[in-house]
C-alpha cells in the first residue's frame, strides 16, 4: 500500500501507524508519551502531530502514534502550521510542569527538555497561570514521587501493571491536578508498591526517581571519626561504565574501586563475597528442607522487590521463601561483626555504604529485621545513578581512572558463582554448583548450568544432584508478572519445583530499577550486561562459592558451619505479612467521585 509523507511516496503494511511508517523511513516526528518497547501509546501528550489528507480530500490534524496509515494518505509533518501546533503542544505540556529544572533529578538527562529542543520551544507563556501543586510523596525509603513533574505519559502505570503485575500505580485527579497516585492507600510506602523502581526507568522526567542519599554518603566521608565501608553489587560493575560513556557490559570493577578511593572511602569490599556466603547458607537451607521435609519449593530471598511483593501481595508464600538474608544484608551484617572483630574497629564507628542497581535495596536496608538495636546494618544505599551523580559532583570521571584492586583483608574474594548473582538465573546456577558439590563431594561437571540462563520469563530445568539424591526440578522467573503463577502453584501444593529463583526486575539486577536510565528505551542493554557477567564468571579462577578462600576462612574462624546458630543470628531473617485490604464506605467513595453533573 502507498502513501506519501512530506511529498515523498512510501509503502506500508495494513495496520501500520503513521509514526511507524515515518520511523521506518527515518522521518523524525517528536514524541513523548509513546513508548515503543512496551507498545505503549496512550495518546496523552498529543505531540506527534501531523496533518493528513485522506484520499477523499479530507484534511485533519492527527496524532501519528495511534493513527493508522491509509492508502493514498498524504501526511505533512514539517509545514509551518504543523510545527506551530507541535510547538504549542509542548508549551502546553510545560504549562503545568515544575519549571525548576536545575533542582531536578533528571537535570540534563530529561526527555521533556529534549522535546522542547525538537520543537524549537522559545517561550513558556502559560506556566505562571496554572497551578503546579500536585503531591510529592517521599514516604518511601527507595523512591520519590514528585507529581509536579509528571507529564501523564502513563508509562509507569503500564510497566507496573504489565511487566511487574504489581499495579500499585493509579491515575488520580482531574485537569491540571491529574497525577499518578497509589490507589486507596494513604501513601506509596504503605501501598502495593514494592519499590522495584522499574517505573523510574521509563519515566521521561524526574517525576519518579530514586531517593537521592548522596549527601548522607558525603557526610559520612567527611566525618573523620567514622570508618566508611563501601561494597557494590555484582551487577554494578557491568552497568556503571555506561554512565561514563563506556560500553554496556564492560567490567569496570577496578575503576569503581579506584573512584571510591578518590571519594575517600576507607575500605572497599565486594558484595560478591557476601553472595558466596548466601549460597552457602541458602544451599544448606535448601538441603535441610529437602532432608527434613520442610516447605518446598523454596524461593530465593536475595531480591528485595520480590520479598516486598511476597509480603504485600501474597503473604501465603512467605513460609516458602528462604530465610537467608540478601548479599547486601549479609555483607553489612558481617562488616559490623566479623570485619569489626578482625580489624578491631568498633561497629558503632563503621558506616556501611552499599552501591546497588536497585531502589528496593534502599527499602531493604530500612527493614527493622536488619537492624541491631537502633542501628541499621546497612547505613545507606545508593543506586548506580546516584553513584554516577556522586562521582560527577566530586569531579571524578570513571572512564579516565586506572583500575585498582579491592581492599582485601577479609571480605573481598569473589567467585564466578557470586558475580552471576547479578543476572536472572545466576543465583540458581550458583546454588546448583555448590549444592551438587556438597552432596557429591566433587564439582559439578562442566560448571555451567546452561538451561537456567537466558531471557525467557520462566525457565526450568531438571538438575541431577547425583545418584542417591536424584533429580530435582528448578525454575527461574523474573519480572513479577511471571512469578505470580509459580507462587499460586506453591501455595496450592501443586508446584513441580523444588527450588525457585525469583528476581523482580526483568533480566535480574543488571536491569534493576537503580540502573542507568536510557531515554525512550527499556532494557536495551540487559543482554550485554548479562554477557558481561558470564564473561567475568568464565574467567574467574574459582567459580563455586564454597571454593572462596575467604568464605572458608569465615566459617572456619567465625561462623562454624553454614546454618549454625551464629550464622542464623547474623545471616538469616524473617518476614511479615504486610498485605492490606483497603476498605472504604460507599458514601466516602461517592464523595471522592469527580462527577461534574449536578444532580437534579
Amino acid at each position: 500500500m502507498n502513501a506519501s509523507i512530506n511529498g515523498r511516496e512510501y509503502t506500508f503494511e495494513p495496520g501500520e501507524t503513521i509514526l511507524q511508517v515515518a520511523r521506518r523511513n527515518d522521518i523524525f516526528i517528536p514524541t513523548l508519551c509513546h513508548f515503543q518497547p512496551l507498545n505503549h501509546k496512550p495518546g496523552t501528550c498529543r505531540v506527534c502531530l501531523a496533518q493528513v489528507t485522506d484520499r477523499h480530500g479530507r484534511t485533519e490534524m492527527v496524532t501519528t502514534c495511534n493513527t493508522p496509515m491509509e492508502e493514498g494518505m498524504r501526511v505533512d509533518t514539517i509545514s509551518s502550521h504543523v510545527r506551530r501546533m507541535q510547538r504549542l503542544q509542548v508549551e502546553l505540556v510545560f504549562a503545568d510542569h515544575d519549571q525548576d529544572c536545575a533542582a531536578c533529578a533528571r537535570h540534563g538527562d530529561c526527555e521533556l527538555q529534549d522535546l522542547a529542543e525538537y520543537v524549537g520551544l522559545s517561550t513558556n507563556r502559560f506556566a505562571p497561570r496554572l497551578p503546579h501543586d500536585r503531591p510529592l510523596d517521599n514516604t518511601m525509603h527507595g523512591m520519590v514521587r514528585d507529581m509536579s513533574k509528571c507529564i501523564r505519559c502513563l508509562r509507569c502505570v503500564e510497566v507496573c501493571r504489565k511487566v511487574q503485575g504489581v499495579a500499585a500505580l493509579t491515575v488520580d485527579g482531574t485537569g491540571t491536578g491529574t497525577h499518578i497516585g497509589v490507589g486507596m492507600a494513604p501513601s506509596q510506602n504503605t501501598s502495593a508498591c514494592i519499590q522495584c523502581g522499574q517505573c523510574t526507568l521509563v519515566c521521561p522526567t524526574g517525576a519518579l526517581a530514586e531517593l537521592d542519599e548522596n549527601d548522607e554518603v558525603l557526610d559520612f566521608l567527611a566525618n573523620p571519626e567514622l570508618t566508611t565501608v563501601f561494597a557494590f553489587a555484582p551487577s554494578v560493575r557491568v552497568v556503571m561504565g555506561e554512565e561514563f560513556g563506556l560500553a554496556p557490559g564492560e567490567n569496570v570493577e577496578g575503576r569503581i574501586v579506584a573512584a571510591l578511593r578518590r571519594l575517600g572511602a576507607d575500605i572497599v569490599i565486594d558484595t560478591d563475597f557476601a553472595a558466596d556466603v548466601v549460597i552457602m547458607e541458602e544451599g544448606t537451607e535448601l538441603l535441610g528442607r529437602i532432608k527434613n521435609g520442610g516447605r518446598l519449593p523454596m524461593f530465593t530471598s536475595c531480591c528485595p522487590g520480590w520479598v516486598n511483593y511476597a509480603e504485600k501481595h501474597c503473604p501465603e508464600v512467605l513460609p516458602y521463601v528462604s530465610t537467608t538474608r540478601s548479599p547486601q544484608a549479609v555483607s553489612s551484617s558481617l562488616v559490623k561483626s566479623y570485619l569489626a572483630e578482625k580489624t578491631g574497629i568498633s561497629p558503632r564507628k563503621i558506616r556501611n555504604i552499599s552501591i546497588m542497581p536497585c531502589t528496593a535495596k534502599k527499602d531493604e536496608a530500612a527493614r527493622s529485621q536488619l537492624y541491631v538495636g537502633s542501628h541499621p546494618d546497612t547505613d545507606v544505599v545508593i543506586t548506580v545513578r546516584e553513584l554516577a551523580r556522586l562521582l560527577r559532583r566530586s569531579g571524578i570521571d570513571l572512564a579516565r581512572l586506572e583500575p585498582e584492586p579491592f581492599d582485601n583483608p577479609y571480605m573481598s574474594d569473589s567467585t564466578g558463582a557470586a558475580v552471576i548473582f547479578g543476572t536472572t538465573g545466576g543465583v540458581m546456577e550458583a546454588a546448583v554448583r555448590t549444592v551438587y558439590a556438597v552432596l557429591n563431594h566433587r564439582e559439578l561437571p562442566g560448571v555451567s548450568v546452561m538451561p537456567v540462563r537466558g531471557v525467557e520469563g520462566l525457565r526450568e530445568s531438571d538438575v541431577d544432584l547425583g545418584k542417591e539424591h536424584g533429580v530435582i526440578k528448578v525454575a527461574v522467573v523474573h519480572g513479577l508478572a511471571n512469578a505470580r503463577k509459580l507462587v499460586e502453584q506453591a501455595v496450592a501444593g501443586t508446584s513441580p519445583y523444588t527450588f525457585i529463583e525469583v528476581m523482580a526486575c526483568p533480566g535480574g539486577c543488571v536491569a534493576g530499577g537503580g540502573t542507568c536510565r536510557i531515554k525512550q528505551d527499556y532494557q536495551p542493554h540487559t543482554g550485554k550486561r548479562q554477557k558481561g557477567l558470564y564473561a567475568i564468571d568464565s574467567h574467574m579462577p574459582r567459580r563455586q562459592s564454597h571454593n572462596n578462600p575467604q568464605v572458608i576462612k569465615l566459617y572456619d574462624e567465625y561462623l562454624g558451619e553454614p546454618n549454625s546458630h551464629k550464622a542464623h543470628e547474623l545471616l538469616h531473617t524473617h518476614y511479615t505479612d504486610r498485605s492490606k485490604v483497603q476498605t472504604e464506605s460507599i458514601s466516602a467513595t461517592k464523595k471522592k467521585l469527580t462527577l461534574t453533573d449536578q444532580s437534579a
Partner: protein, 659 residues
C-alpha cells in the same frame, strides 16, 4: 416559538441580527429549546454542534465562560491540550466578562489546538461553540457585567449515557477502571442504584448499542466492565455500606423489594428519609431473584446488593402482601407520608388454547416454573424434569425457561414461537446460548392444542405460521398455514408468553387509577392519581414505561420516583428534572448526529471465558465468567470517551441550580 437571533450550527452561520428574512437550521425544532424549563425561555444553547442565541440581550461571552468553566472541570487531565488549555480558556473568558484585556489570538490558538488535537470529546467538541464564535461573531464577545439573574445548566453526556435510562456515566466508570480505581468505578454506578453487579450481568445494554466504537470494530463491553467493578469491590466487601444519617422526619413506605423498589428506597435513604420496604415474598429481589436463573445471576450477588439497603437503614418487612396484609390507607394510617408501589407483574399467563387444563401439574406458566426452580436451587436441590419439554414464547422469560429446562432433563427441550427468530423480543445472546445448549427452535409455529392422554401431557399440537405482508407500520404479522398442524411429543409444556400484574393488590378503594390491564397509571414523575402515592416498574404504565422486565428502565423509574417523592414531601410539587429535560431535548431534537469515527486503530473487543455447553450440563453454575483485571484494563482502553458538553442559558434562574 423562539426566534434565532444568531448562531452557528454544523458549521453554518445564521445571522438574523439585521436581516428581514430570519434563517435557522433546517430540521432543528427550535420550539423544543423553550420546553427545557417551561416559562423560562432558553436564551443561549451551546453544544458540540455549535451555538444558538435566541435573545438580543443575552451575553454570549458569559455563556461561553460558564461553558468553559464546566469544560475545565470536566477535563480528565490526561491529554496536554485539554489539561492546560481548558483552564486557560476559562480564565481568559472570565477576564473577557469583566472587561479585562484578553489576548484573543492566544485564545484562538488554544481553542483550535484543543478542538483539533484533544484526546477525547471533551476538548474536541466542547470547544466548538467558542471556536465558532471567534470565527464568526468576534464582535459579540463583549464584556458583560454579570447581573446574576440568568439561569445556567450544563451537562456532560455521551451517546452511551443518553442511551441508558438511568444516565449512568459510562465513560467515567470505564476511565476509573483504566486508571486503577475499581472502587470509584463501582461508586459511579452506585450513585444510581445498588444492583451494580446484578445489572452488570443481566442488563440489556442500550449503552452498547449506542457505542460509537461499533463504527471501528465492536462496542465496548460495558456490561462486563460494570460487573467487574462490582465484583471486585462490592462482592468482596471492599466497598462497605454504612447507615445513612436520617435528616428528614417524613417516613416513606416502598411496596415491593424488587429492583425498582430497592432502588427507590436506596435513593430516598441517601437523601435522608426513613424508608420501610414491604415485600410479599420472604426475601428481597423480586423478579430478578426468582425470575432470572442462577446460571445468569448467582443469587449471592443480588442478595448482597439488596443488603446494602438494609445496612443503610432501610427496614424490610417480608411476607407482607399488598391487598392481603395491608392496603394503601393502612400505610398512611401507620404514619407514612408517601408510598412507592413497585409490585411488578408477578403473574404468568397461560396460552388459552384448546384442551388447556391448568390443573395438570406438567402444564405450567413460565413465572411459576422459574420460581419453583429458583426455590429448589436455593434450598440446595438441583431440580429435575423427566422427559421432553416444550416452552412457548419468544421473550427472555421463554429463554430462561428453556435454558433452565435443558439443565433439568435428559430429554429434549423445544421452543415454540409464532413469529420469526428476528421478531423474538429476547436478547440475541440468550437465543444463541439456548441453541448452543441444545434447545430445538420452532419459529413461525403457533401452539394449537395441548395433547393430553389419561390426564398426562403427551404432546403439543402446533401449526405452522406464515408472515403476512407488512402493515402500515412496516411490521409483518403472521397467520396460520391451514393444514400444517404437527405435534411435538412432550411431557411438559411451559407457557412463557408474558406477565401481568396481580389484580388482587389494588382495589378501587385504594383510589389509584389503573388502565384496563390493571396497570397503575403514572405521569412523568412516576406519580399516580392519588396524592402521595408513586409507582414504578412493571405493572405501571406511563411515559417512562418501555416494555416489561427491562431492569435498567425499572431502576431509572425507581430513581425518578425517589426524586419525585422527596420533592413532594419537601415542597409539595413535582421536581424539576433538568437532567431528564436535557435528555428529552437531545432525543427529540436529534442533537447527537451520527458523526463518523475516523482514524481509530482497531482494538478487538476482549473475548471472555464462559462455561462450554458441556460444562453447563445439569447444573446452574454461572455461565459467563466475567473479566480478569488484565482484561478489564484492556477492554477499558477501547472507550473513546465520546463526551459532549451541552449548556443552556435561560432568562431566569433554573430551579435547583446556581448559575
Amino acid at each position: 416559538m423562539p426566534q434565532l437571533i444568531y448562531g452557528v450550527w454544523d458549521n453554518v452561520v445564521y445571522d438574523n441580527r439585521g436581516s428581514a428574512v430570519p434563517t435557522a437550521p433546517e430540521d432543528l425544532p427550535l420550539d423544543l429549546f423553550d420546553q427545557f424549563n417551561e416559562g423560562n425561555p432558553t436564551e443561549i444553547f451551546l453544544s458540540n454542534r455549535g451555538f444558538l442565541v435566541f435573545s438580543r440581550t443575552a451575553s454570549l461571552v458569559w455563556a461561553l465562560w460558564k461553558h468553559h468553566q464546566r469544560l475545565a472541570a470536566e477535563s480528565c487531565g490526561k491529554c496536554s491540550p485539554c489539561r492546560a488549555g481548558s483552564p486557560i480558556l476559562a480564565q481568559e473568558l472570565e477576564k473577557a466578562c469583566r472587561g479585562e484585556l484578553v489576548h484573543w489570538e492566544e485564545v484562538r490558538d488554544i481553542t483550535e489546538q484543543m478542538h483539533e488535537t484533544s484526546l477525547c470529546g471533551v476538548g474536541r467538541t466542547g470547544t466548538t461553540p467558542l471556536l465558532d464564535a471567534l470565527s464568526h461573531f468576534p464582535d459579540e464577545l463583549r464584556p458583560f457585567p454579570f447581573h446574576g439573574d440568568a439561569g445556567f445548566y450544563s451537562v456532560t453526556t455521551s451517546p452511551c449515557i443518553e442511551a441508558c435510562p438511568s444516565h449512568v456515566n459510562v465513560p467515567r466508570y470505564i476511565d476509573y477502571l483504566q486508571d486503577g480505581h475499581n472502587d470509584l468505578a463501582a461508586g459511579v454506578v452506585l450513585n444510581h442504584y445498588p444492583l451494580a453487579g446484578s445489572c452488570g450481568r443481566v442488563c440489556v445494554r442500550y449503552c452498547e448499542k449506542a457505542c460509537r466504537r461499533s463504527q471501528v470494530d465492536a462496542p465496548v463491553d460495558i456490561k462486563n466492565l460494570k460487573r467487574f467493578a462490582a465484583d471486585e469491590t462490592i462482592v468482596p466487601g471492599i466497598l462497605k455500606p454504612e447507615p445513612c444519617p436520617t435528616t428528614k422526619n417524613k417516613r416513606v413506605a416502598v411496596i415491593g423489594a424488587g429492583p425498582v423498589g430497592v432502588t427507590c428506597a436506596y435513593q430516598l435513604l441517601e437523601t435522608g428519609y426513613p424508608v420501610d420496604i414491604y415485600e410479599a415474598h420472604d426475601k428481597a429481589g423480586g423478579m430478578v431473584r426468582y425470575g432470572i436463573p442462577f446460571y445468569r445471576l448467582p443469587k449471592n450477588v443480588l442478595m448482597q446488593e439488596n443488603e446494602l439497603v438494609k445496612d443503610m437503614g432501610g427496614m424490610f418487612f417480608f411476607n407482607q402482601k399488598l391487598g392481603r396484609d395491608f392496603n394503601i390507607d393502612d400505610l398512611f394510617r401507620r404514619g407514612y407520608k408517601a408510598v412507592f408501589i413497585a409490585t411488578g407483574c408477578p403473574l404468568g399467563g397461560y396460552l388459552g388454547m384448546e384442551g388447556e387444563d391448568t390443573s395438570i401439574p406438567e402444564y405450567e406458566n413460565g413465572i411459576e416454573f422459574l420460581e419453583k426452580v429458583h426455590d429448589a436451587l436455593e434450598a440446595g436441590v438441583t431440580p429435575e424434569l423427566d422427559g421432553d419439554v416444550v416452552v412457548v414464547g419468544g421473550g427472555n422469560v421463554a429463554m430462561d425457561c428453556c435454558r433452565s429446562a435443558v439443565r433439568m432433563t435428559k430429554g429434549k427441550v423445544h421452543l415454540v414461537y409464532r413469529r420469526t427468530e428476528s421478531d423474538a423480543p429476547a436478547d440475541r445472546e440468550e437465543i444463541v446460548e439456548a441453541g448452543r445448549e441444545g434447545v430445538e427452535f420452532h419459529f413461525l409455529s403457533g401452539q394449537d392444542r395441548l395433547v393430553v392422554e389419561n390426564g398426562k401431557i403427551t404432546g403439543l399440537q402446533c401449526v405452522k405460521m406464515q408472515q403476512t405482508e407488512p402493515d402500515e407500520s412496516g411490521r409483518r404479522g403472521v397467520k396460520p398455514i391451514p393444514g400444517s398442524e404437527f405435534v411435538i411429543p412432550c411431557d411438559y409444556v411451559i407457557a412463557a408468553i408474558g406477565q401481568k400484574s396481580d389484580p388482587s393488590m389494588l382495589t378501587e378503594a385504594d383510589g389509584i387509577a389503573l388502565d384496563r390491564k390493571k396497570c397503575i397509571i403514572v405521569d412523568e414523575y412516576q406519580a399516580t392519581s392519588r396524592p402521595g402515592v408513586f409507582a414504578g416498574g412493571d405493572g405501571t404504565t406511563g411515559p417512562r414505561t418501555k416494555g416489561p422486565s427491562v431492569l435498567i428502565h425499572g431502576m431509572a423509574q425507581g430513581s425518578i420516583g425517589a426524586q419525585a417523592i422527596a420533592s413532594y414531601l419537601e415542597y409539595d410539587r413535582p421536581p424539576f428534572l433538568a437532567r431528564e429535560r436535557i435528555s428529552q431535548l437531545i432525543r427529540q431534537a436529534g442533537l447527537f448526529g451520527d458523526d463518523p469515527v475516523c482514524g481509530q486503530e482497531k482494538k478487538p473487543r476482549v473475548r471472555l471465558n464462559e462455561l462450554t455447553p458441556a460444562e453447563r450440563d445439569h447444573n446452574f453454575k454461572e455461565v459467563e465468567l466475567g473479566m480478569s483485571q488484565e482484561e478489564a484494563w484492556q477492554e477499558a482502553k477501547r472507550c473513546m470517551r465520546c463526551y459532549r458538553i451541552l449548556s443552556v442559558v435561560t432568562r431566569s434562574p433554573i430551579p435547583g441550580f446556581k448559575a
